[in-house]
């Protein structure tokens, strides 16, 4: 109704208001019968004890009514408008009794019951106002038709005029009444602080737990590869080296056999190199042992584009944050090499005011996008889990700067360092 009068009157809003209020009237009547019936019979039966159950039923009736009321806001605001979610928490155990006790303990349930009472009692008044304003208007408009039965009188046309002139007023009254009611619905039936937000916190926690689990899994995979496949490959390389030596010293005429062994050794070495690169991408050991700054300088020195590193971070950070920041730098530099055509890049990292900020800048062609479905999107997802923010500035022509910000506190405790001990004696001697 904040729009210009013409826009409001010609829009669907007055009709939506009418529909909303009309259904309110119907629903109010149903509610009056059911709720009123329950309350009255509950009070009457309260001497028998069973009345209390009936009264509880009346209170709980507020829940479906409230759900319907929240849905019904769509009549007024359109199907795509925001409407409040349920203020009720989850019921942890199955069965009727846990449900009852959970719901009756929630303030939201009582608020909804309060709304139901007001809705049922107040509605007849709204109803009267509507009848008093709108219906007479239509009656006035139709006046000539009534009068025509007897004779044609000019006064009838005046009445029609008044009726037509009154329609815009009625539209505003309807609009105001509907708006007031929907305001009341939102006031009473929206989740309050500490209700739905609890679940958001719970969701965030479980997401963080899941990310922790992934991180632990990555370290486990890395450890298993180190203790398993890598050791076997090292042993293979050594055996092939010995065989090579054997061929060289024992039999000068070994020819093809010796050549094949040499080739096998080079191939095994190649496999070892590839496995090493793979592990470096999963979770490098130096990250666990020496932290993010050391790990970043290792990627930088291996990067094909010259990278200058300026990471001024004293102490260790929580393992998950270090892993995320490492993955960030690793992905960012991979993108620099693949797409930017840059001649140089730099990594800058600082921990200030409880926030870890890392920026990777390159002097390449720019024009990188977060929404290209590539590695950056996966990176953004992973960063979101630790409540981090990823920002990209990449104008066409460059330079490109990809920044990461994560809220975090430095940690020196051993518990943050993921040196989980193995219970079994499975760990083989590494040599």
């Amino acid at each position: 109704m904040t729009r210009s009068p013409a826009a409001f009157l010609t829009s669907a809003a007055p009709w939506r208001s009418l529909a909303y209020l009309a259904t309110s009237v119907l629903l109010g009547l149903v509610s009056l019968v059911v709720l009123g019936g329950l309350v009255v019979s509950g009070l009457l039966l309260s001497v028998l004890g069973i009345g209390l159950a009936v009264l509880a039923g009346a209170v709980l009736l507020g829940i479906p009514l409230a759900a319907l009321e929240r849905r019904r806001l769509r009549l007024l605001d359109g199907p795509h408008a925001d409407r409040p979610g349920s203020p009720h928490g989850p019921v942890t155990r199955p069965g009727l009794w846990p449900w009852l006790t959970t719901r009756l303990r929630e303030p939201a349930t009582w608020r909804e019951f309060g709304y139901a009472v007001v809705f049922t009692v107040l509605l007849p008044l709204v109803d009267l106002v509507l009848l008093a304003v709108v219906v007479p208007l239509f009656a006035l408009i139709a006046a000539p038709a009534y009068v025509a039965v007897d004779s044609t009188q000019p006064e009838a046309l005046v009445l029609t005029g008044i009726g037509i002139a009154g329609l815009p007023v009625a539209a505003y009254v309807l609009g105001a009444a509907a708006a007031a009611q929907s305001w009341f619905v939102r006031l009473m039936l929206s989740p309050r602080e500490g209700e739905q937000s609890d679940r958001v916190v719970e969701l965030t926690r479980s997401r963080a737990r899941m990310a922790d689990a992934f991180e632990a899994e990555r370290r486990r995979i890395e450890r298993d590869l180190h203790d398993g496949a890598q050791q076997h490959l090292v042993a293979l390389v050594m055996t092939l080296g010995l065989a090579e030596l054997e061929f060289r010293t024992a039999d000068q005429e070994a020819g093809k056999g010796g050549e094949l062994v040499s080739r096998a050794r080079r191939e095994a070495k190649q496999a070892l190199d590839e496995l090493r690169d793979l592990i470096r991408g999963i979770h490098p050991q130096v990250l666990t042992d020496h932290g993010i700054a050391a790990a970043v300088s290792e990627i930088a020195v291996r990067c094909r584009v010259p990278v200058s590193v300026d990471m001024d971070l004293t102490g260790r950070l929580p393992a998950q944050i270090e892993a995320t920041a490492y993955f960030f730098v690793s992905e960012a530099l991979t993108n620099v090499v693949k797409h930017s055509g840059a001649a140089a890049a730099s990594v800058h990292g600082r921990l200030t005011a409880g926030r870890l900020a890392v920026t990777v800048t390159d002097d390449g062609v720019g024009g990188a996008g977060l929404r290209d479905g590539g590695g950056l999107q996966g990176l953004a997802d992973r960063v979101a889990v630790v409540d981090g923010r990823l920002t990209l500035s990449s104008p066409a022509g460059g330079p490109t700067a990809l920044s990461l910000e994560i809220p975090c506190q430095p940690s020196h405790s051993v518990s943050s360092s993921p040196r989980t001990r193995r219970s079994s004696a499975k760990g083989s001697p590494s040599c």
């Binding site: 450890r223 180190h226 203790d227 890598q230 090292v234 390389v237 050594m238 092939l240 080296g241 010995l242 090579e244 030596l245 050794r265 095994a268 070495k269 070892l272 190199d273 090493r276 592990i279 470096r280 490098p284 050991q285 130096v286 666990t288 042992d289 020496h290 050391a294 300088s297 290792e298 930088a300 020195v301 291996r302 010259p306 990278v307 200058s308 360092s417 040196r419 989980t420 001990r421 193995r422 004696a425 760990g427 083989s428 001697p429 590494s430 040599c431």
Partner: protein, 195 residues
């Protein structure tokens, strides 16, 4: 070989029991699966600076090398015992590996050429200039593995004079005096690390 052990704690016990001529260990060992082997090495060197140790690693990282070769970890001595840090893959080159083991046992410093290359790359990127030529880098890499001048001559199949010239150039560029043996390896490391 006198003893093979499966974790860092047994390594310390075994060394105390049989005082070996040389210890070969992985950086990474049970029980912690972190850099337990490296920690054990540092402890061994602290209690017995004369014990030669060769540390192997699945992948070499400057951070480990810096830690291992930091002077002051062991009491400063004119002739510290041999110390080596090599990539595990080097085992495949049996001949070279055997030589490296012998050199460490004999008291040499042996550093994987990859570490030296990475340190040089880091240094060059900091200064935005290439300090050494490709050939000089190669020579420096071999020097870091404990090669003497004579071994450099054979490995690179160049004359004694050429070896001396390369080394002279390298040390001039690094601003170091051209000592022989371990001290030059340590000097190079210190230079690359601190600058």
């Amino acid at each position: 070989m006198v003893r093979a052990v499966g974790d860092a704690d047994s390594l310390l016990t075994a060394v105390a029991e049989c005082s070996p001529d040389l210890v070969v260990t992985d950086v990474r060992m049970p029980p912690g699966h972190g850099d337990d082997g490296l920690r054990a090495t540092l402890r061994l060197r602290k209690s017995d600076p004369d014990l030669p140790v060769l540390v192997l690693s699945q992948y070499v990282a400057n951070a480990y090398a810096k830690e291992l070769f930091t002077p002051g970890r062991a009491p400063h001595r004119p002739n510290p015992a041999g110390l080596g840090y090599l990539l595990k893959d080097r085992i495949g080159e049996i001949g070279e590996f055997a030589q490296a083991v012998e050199r460490v046992a004999a008291g040499a410093m042996v550093i994987d050429p990859q570490v030296v290359q990475h340190l040089l790359t880091e240094r060059d990127r900091r200064h935005q200039s290439q300090l050494l030529s490709a050939r000089e880098r190669e020579v420096l890499g071999l020097m870091a593995q404990g090669y003497s001048n004579a071994m450099l001559r054979d490995a690179l199949t160049i004359s004694d004079g050429a070896v001396a010239k390369h080394i002279g150039n390298i040390f001039a560029k690094l601003g170091l005096s051209a000592d022989d043996g371990n001290r030059r390896v340590l000097a190079v490391l210190a230079y690359l690390r601190d600058e």
